[in-house]
């Protein structure tokens, strides 16, 4: 039972990843895509958590945190790129 529900939610998450992918492909604007990628990252976090339960292992909990961190970093990078064209500045603007 538990496993079935878990698999169902995994499938649901997979579907939302698929939908987000659709948004990445379709666009239309760059921020749209970035938003969708961010969302994929977040959904993957949930998936890893669920798979950990299914596999009954704690080995992947680090991956969750890492994915959180990295989704954040890439989002920042992408948004800066969209906004300014460069992602790391030489000097502070202030």
């Amino acid at each position: 039972m538990i496993e079935k529900i878990l698999l169902a939610s995994l499938t649901l998450f997979a579907i939302s990843v698929a939908i987000a992918l659709f948004r990445i492909i379709k666009g239309p604007s760059m921020p749209d895509r970035a938003v969708a990628l961010d969302m994929i990252g977040v959904n993957l976090i949930s998936m890893i958590a669920i798979i950990s339960i299914v596999l009954k292992t704690k080995a992947f909990l680090e991956a969750i945190l890492i994915l959180g961190i990295l989704a954040f970093i890439s989002t920042i990078a992408i948004s800066k790129y969209i906004e300014r064209g460069t992602i790391i500045e030489h000097k502070s603007d202030d």
Binding site: A59, F60, E62, A63, L65, I66, I69, L70, F72, I73, I76, A77, K80, E83, R84, T86, I87, I88, E89, H90, K91, S92, D93, D94
Partner: protein
């Protein structure tokens, strides 16, 4: 156009701290759980990258006055010299040893030469990643 990054800077200061801690944790725990030199190094490096992202090169240089090429070189040297150490001891190259010690605070702890090796790996990864990213972003603008 001036860009105000107050939110980003505030939050990233905090987040960088988390990531750094986590990176060190990953590095240390690698021998028994997922992690190790590579991943630790990568995570540490991404913390530094986040610093760059949220502020700028000058600021980071002030607070972190390191030449990352030398960091990487030190790492490689460390990694290779653990191997080289075995030559001195007359055992096959890259022989690693490990032993368990009862340390006062940490309890029973495993100490192994692999850790030194992994430290070298981590340093290299950090050094190289930051070097690459810095070189590109310093270039031209």
């Amino acid at each position: 156009m001036k860009i105000n990054d107050v939110i980003l800077r505030t939050i990233s200061r905090f987040v960088v701290f988390i990531i750094l801690t986590f990176g060190v944790y990953l590095f240390l725990s690698g021998h028994n759980t997922p992690g190790g030199g590579f991943i630790g190094g990568l995570v540490l490096a991404s913390a530094i990258v986040l610093l760059y992202l949220s502020t700028d090169i000058e600021t980071v240089k002030k607070s972190l006055p390191l030449d990352f090429k030398y960091v990487a070189a030190t790492g490689v040297l460390l990694a290779t010299s653990t191997g080289f150490g075995s030559i001195i001891f007359g055992v096959p190259f890259m022989s690693q040893t490990f032993a368990y010690f009862d340390l006062p605070i940490f309890g029973e702890t495993e100490l192994t030469t692999v850790t030194i090796f992994e430290a070298g790996v981590a340093l290299t990864v950090v050094g190289v990643l930051v070097t690459i990213i810095l070189s590109i972003s310093e270039d031209g603008g």
